[in-house]
C-alpha cells in the first residue's frame, strides 16, 4: 500500500532532476528573483539578520498570535466565499478529485518521511515519528506566501485551495503519532520492566483530539463555513466590508504577512545555532524531502485537474512542515523524541527553503508537468 506512492515518486526522480536543466534553471532563477525581492520574504531576511547581530527587534507574543488568528480566519473566510461561487457554478464536480488527492497525500507523506528518517537516517523510532508528524502536516503561512506568489505572477490558484489546506492539516500528524506510539510501545514496556517504573498511560488519544479540534482547524474550517453561508445569504453591499477586511489580496492580509514573516525570521534565526546539533542528514532531509513531497503535490494536483497556480500552491503546502499544531502533540505522545530536531528542521530549514526557493521551484515543476 505504501510501496506504490514510493514507486510513483521514485519513478519521477529523474524527472525531478530533469527539472534542473539549463533553460529551466534560468527560469527558476528569474522567478526566484521575482519572489525574493518582495517585502514578504525580505521581512523574513530582516528577522534573520536581526538575530545574527543580536539586534533588539521584539514582536510581542500577542501580536504574533493575533496575526496568526487573522491569517487563519482570512484563509477560511475567503476560501468559503470563493467556494460558494465555485459551488454555485460547478457543484462539487471540480472539487472532489483534488480533495481526495490531498487526503491521500496527507496519509502518505508522513509515512515516506518516517521511512526516510528511520532507515536512511537511522534515527530513533520516536524521533523519526516525531519529525514525520511535522512533515506530514502543513504550514498555513507557507500557504499564504505561496498564494501571494502565484497571485503576483498572475496565475491565481483554484478557488478551493484553502479547503485543501484544511484537509491536509490533521491526517499526517495522526498517522505519524499512531505509528510512533505503536512501534515504541514495546520498547517502553521492556524498559518499564527493567526499571520497575510503571509505564505512564499514553496521551495519544488526548493529543489527537487536541490536534483535530485545534485552533488552526477550527478557525479555518469554521470561517470557511461562515464565508460560504454569508456569501449565499447576504447581498454584496452588506458583504463587502467583511470581504475587504479578510481578502488575501488586500492590504491587511499582505501587511500582516510582512510582520508575521519578520517574527518567523526572528524565530528561525534563533534556531540557526541548533543546525550544528541536528547534523548534516537532517539538514539535507529538510531540503530534499520538501522537494519530493512538493513534486508529489504538484504532480497529483495536476492529475486532479488543478490549474498552474493551484498545482504550485498544493506542492508548497504538501512540501511544508507544521510548526504550530505538530510540536505540542508530539511532545505529549512521544516524550522521548527530542523537539530540537523536529522544530529546527521545520522552522530553520524547511520553512525558509520553501519561502525563498521552494515555491518558485514548485511553480516551474507545475509548468513542467503541464499545468496551465
Amino acid at each position: 500500500m505504501l510501496t506504490i506512492p514510493l514507486a510513483t515518486l521514485c519513478g519521477h526522480v529523474p524527472a525531478l532532476v530533469a527539472v534542473f536543466n539549463a533553460e529551466q534553471l534560468g527560469r527558476i532563477v528569474e522567478s526566484l528573483e521575482r519572489n525574493l525581492l518582495t517585502p514578504i520574504p525580505l521581512c523574513f531576511v530582516l528577522g534573520l539578520i536581526c538575530t545574527q547581530i543580536h539586534g533588539g527587534i521584539k514582536i510581542p507574543k500577542e501580536l504574533y498570535l493575533t496575526i496568526a488568528i487573522f491569517l487563519l480566519m482570512s484563509i477560511g473566510f475567503i476560501g468559503g466565499h470563493e467556494l460558494a461561487h465555485e459551488y454555485q457554478e460547478h457543484g462539487v464536480s471540480t472539487i472532489w478529485k483534488p480533495a481526495l488527492v490531498t487526503l491521500v497525500l496527507g496519509c502518505l507523506t508522513p509515512i515516506s518521511a518516517f521511512l526516510v528518517l528511520r532507515y536512511v537516517g537511522s534515527m530513533s523510532i520516536a524521533d523519526s515519528a516525531g519529525i514525520a508528524a511535522h512533515y506530514g502536516s502543513t504550514s498555513a503561512v507557507t500557504y499564504a506566501v505561496a498564494n501571494s506568489f502565484v497571485e503576483q505572477t498572475q496565475h491565481p490558484a483554484n478557488s478551493f485551495l484553502p479547503t485543501l489546506v484544511t484537509i491536509l492539516e490533521c491526517p499526517g500528524i495522526a498517522i505519524a503519532l499512531v505509528l510512533g506510539a505503536a512501534l515504541s510501545a514495546r520498547e517502553r514496556a521492556a524498559k518499564a520492566q527493567a526499571t520497575g517504573v510503571p509505564v505512564r498511560e499514553s496521551k495519544l488519544g488526548e493529543a489527537l483530539y487536541e490536534v483535530m479540534t485545534g485552533q488552526s482547524i477550527l478557525l479555518m474550517a469554521g470561517m470557511l463555513v461562515i464565508g460560504f453561508i454569508s456569501t449565499l445569504f447576504m447581498d454584496t453591499k452588506g458583504f463587502q466590508p467583511f470581504y475587504d477586511f479578510f481578502q488575501s489580496k488586500g492590504m491587511l492580509f499582505r501587511g500582516a504577512l510582512c510582520i508575521f514573516l519578520l517574527e518567523m525570521g526572528l524565530v528561525a534565526g534563533e534556531r540557526l545555532g541548533d543546525l550544528r546539533k541536528v547534523g548534516p542528514f537532517l539538514v539535507a532531509f529538510g531540503i530534499i524531502m520538501p522537494l519530493i513531497h512538493g513534486f508529489a503535490g504538484v504532480y497529483f494536483g495536476h492529475l486532479a485537474g488543478l490549474n498552474l497556480g493551484g498545482c504550485t500552491v498544493l506542492g508548497a503546502i504538501v512540501a511544508s512542515a507544521s510548526y504550530i499544531a505538530a510540536p505540542p502533540a508530539v511532545r505529549l505522545t512521544l516524550p522521548e523524541a527530542n523537539p530540537t530536531l523536529s522544530i529546527t528542521a521545520a522552522l530553520a530549514i524547511t520553512f525558509p527553503f520553501n519561502i525563498a526557493i521552494g515555491i518558485p521551484i514548485y511553480f516551474e515543476m507545475a509548468k513542467w508537468v503541464g499545468a496551465t
Binding site: I59, K61, R200, K203, R331, T340, I343
Partner: protein
C-alpha cells in the same frame, strides 16, 4: 489568629505538561493551585518546546499537607522528570485559616 503549618509545593516545567500536572495533583488531594507564566533556563531547557511566541515555561504552586505534598512530588518525579524539563521543590509555610486546604 492561628496559622496552620502546611507545605508549599512549587513545580516549574515546560508548558505542555502543566495542565495535566495541575489536574492530576488535585486528584492527589490538592484543594487548589496557583499557576503563572515564567521564562526558564535549565539543564534541559533545550527540551522546552518553543512553539513560536508561546511561553516556554510555567510555575505551579500548591499549598497542601505533607502527605499530599509527598504524593505530588512522587508522581511528578516518576511521570515527568525523566523526559520533560521540570523542577519541583517543597517549603514550609504558615497558612491563614489553613483548615480550608487540608486534603479533601
Amino acid at each position: 489568629m492561628q496559622l496552620y503549618p502546611l507545605k508549599l509545593v512549587t513545580i516549574v516545567g515546560e508548558t505542555v505538561i502543566m495542565d495535566d500536572i495541575a489536574k492530576e495533583c488535585q486528584e492527589l488531594g490538592a484543594s487548589g493551585y496557583t499557576l503563572s507564566e515564567v521564562l526558564g533556563q535549565g539543564s534541559r531547557s533545550a527540551r522546552n518546546v518553543i512553539v513560536t511566541g508561546a511561553s516556554k515555561t510555567m510555575k505551579l504552586e500548591f499549598v497542601v499537607p505533607m502527605d499530599v505534598a509527598e504524593k505530588i512530588l512522587k508522581h511528578v518525579s516518576h511521570t515527568y522528570f525523566e523526559h520533560y524539563a521540570c523542577i519541583a521543590w517543597l517549603s514550609d509555610v504558615q497558612v491563614m485559616r489553613g483548615e480550608n486546604y487540608l486534603s479533601k
